[in-house]
């Protein structure tokens, strides 16, 4: 578990490796399986997630601290956060469509889906649940989104190889992808208790 008392470095290691968002915490799995067929695509998705997630965390933290908490409206957290995130993603989508046409075609339908990428909302909520300060929230978010990028790029590279391997018929497609993810998850569990985390 992450607390506000932990050092910045520990928060980063914990969120990046020990509690990897995809392989250990099980968030954002739709894009993990949907987008990881090509290394380039998964890398650009990772970058998009880093950008959106850090923005979203900063905005939702401020919203919670200066609007919801003083007015005792914490129960509106879910609604308020998801709307802010949706608006942010919309903005990001328009910006990318205008300035980076190729990237936009590569990401296809998954860019608007960052809205329903549960990791973005999940991290915004976890920042509040762990009672992190502003700077540590940003560090935690950065760790989580870098962990996302790391895992999805590694996974896409492994899937590239699996694609060429003779896979039993019943396991072709998604089943073998899940087994691969399982082995990667097992490997990431090796990081458990690193630095006593």
């Amino acid at each position: 578990m992450i607390t506000n008392e932990m050092s910045v470095f520990m928060i980063l290691v914990s969120s990046l490796l020990v509690n990897n968002i995809l392989l250990i915490r099980f968030l954002a799995l739709c894009s993990f399986f949907g987008l990881s067929t090509k290394v380039e695509t998964s890398l650009s998705m990772g970058l998009a997630v880093i950008f959106v997630m850090v923005n979203a965390s900063a905005v939702t933290w401020l919203l919670h601290r200066f609007l919801l908490a003083p007015l005792h409206l914490e129960y509106l957290r879910t609604i308020a956060f998801i709307l802010v995130i949706a608006a942010l993603v919309q903005f990001e989508e328009m910006y990318i469509r205008k300035n980076f046409k190729e990237l936009y075609t590569a990401l296809g339908i998954y860019l608007p889906l960052i809205t329903t990428n549960c990791a973005v909302l999940g991290v915004a909520i976890l920042n509040i649940d762990y009672r992190l300060g502003f700077i540590k929230s940003i560090v935690y978010t950065l760790g989580v989104s870098l962990g996302y990028t790391l895992a999805i790029v590694l996974f896409a590279s492994v899937r590239d190889r699996v694609f060429l391997a003779p896979v039993p018929r019943a396991f072709q497609g998604y089943p073998i992808a899940f087994i691969t993810a399982s082995l990667m998850s097992l490997a990431f569990m090796g990081f458990a208790h690193l630095f006593g985390l």
Partner: protein, 207 residues
């Protein structure tokens, strides 16, 4: 497309041929995260089903009033309202379950199944059919997640618990394979479940 189906077909589609988990591959996050035992899995399934039916009902009631250009934000607000309701109710009456499900209760709001049905079905269909669709999809999700939960629990802990009562206990003679209640086991179990489905599905189609 969905218009030509009878009420029974609408209901059954969610359970069998359009099962959100096993066929459409959506809603994976809660599926893997809370299926380390059957009890939590069932709780998650029921909570998500309630939100699904309620939001389908409200979206289909309001479908003539919702302008197409801003429909997604409106759907999100509707879904988030019901999720908040479930969140508060579960916190009050099932604190144990609430603690186990943790962040995945508010995250029902971004479950692709729910938004997907609001957009893909309830927005174009009448109230009774939308409710049936919600029930079918919810049941399909609940069945899949509970089966996975039971499978992981019995392999990893030697027990199956449903509704807070222990149904099966293999006793001390069974050495549990701990990995199944840990994260890698979730991926492994669903991988094998889908391989099984693929094997038998193919055979069924060949007839």
């Amino acid at each position: 497309m969905a218009r030509g189906k009878s009420a029974r077909q609408v209901f059954l589609a969610g359970i069998v041929e359009e099962n959100p988990i096993l066929v459409l591959m959506i809603g994976l996050c809660p599926l893997l995260a809370v299926s380390s035992n059957a009890n939590d899995a069932l709780g998650m399934g029921l909570a998500a089903s309630f939100v699904l039916v309620a939001s389908n009902l409200l979206v289909s009631l309001l479908r003539k009033l919702i302008p197409a250009s801003v429909r997604i934000p409106i759907f999100i607000v509707i879904v988030a309202t019901f999720v908040t309701l479930v969140d508060l109710l579960m916190h009050a009456y099932q604190p144990e379950l609430y603690k186990n499900l943790g962040v995945f209760v508010p995250l029902i709001v971004v479950n692709c199944i729910i938004l997907g049905r609001a957009e893909g079905f309830a927005y174009h269909n009448g109230v009774p059919r939308s409710v049936l669709d919600g029930l079918g999809m919810g049941l399909g999700f609940t069945i899949a997640i509970t089966i996975l939960g039971a499978m992981r629990e019995i392999l990893g802990n030697g027990t199956v618990t449903l509704l807070n009562t222990e149904l099966v206990n293999l006793g001390a003679g069974y050495p549990p394979a701990l990995v199944f209640i840990m994260p890698p086991g979730g991926f492994l179990a669903i991988g094998f479940l889908m391989a099984l489905k693929q094997k038998f599905w193919k055979r069924g189609q060949g007839r």
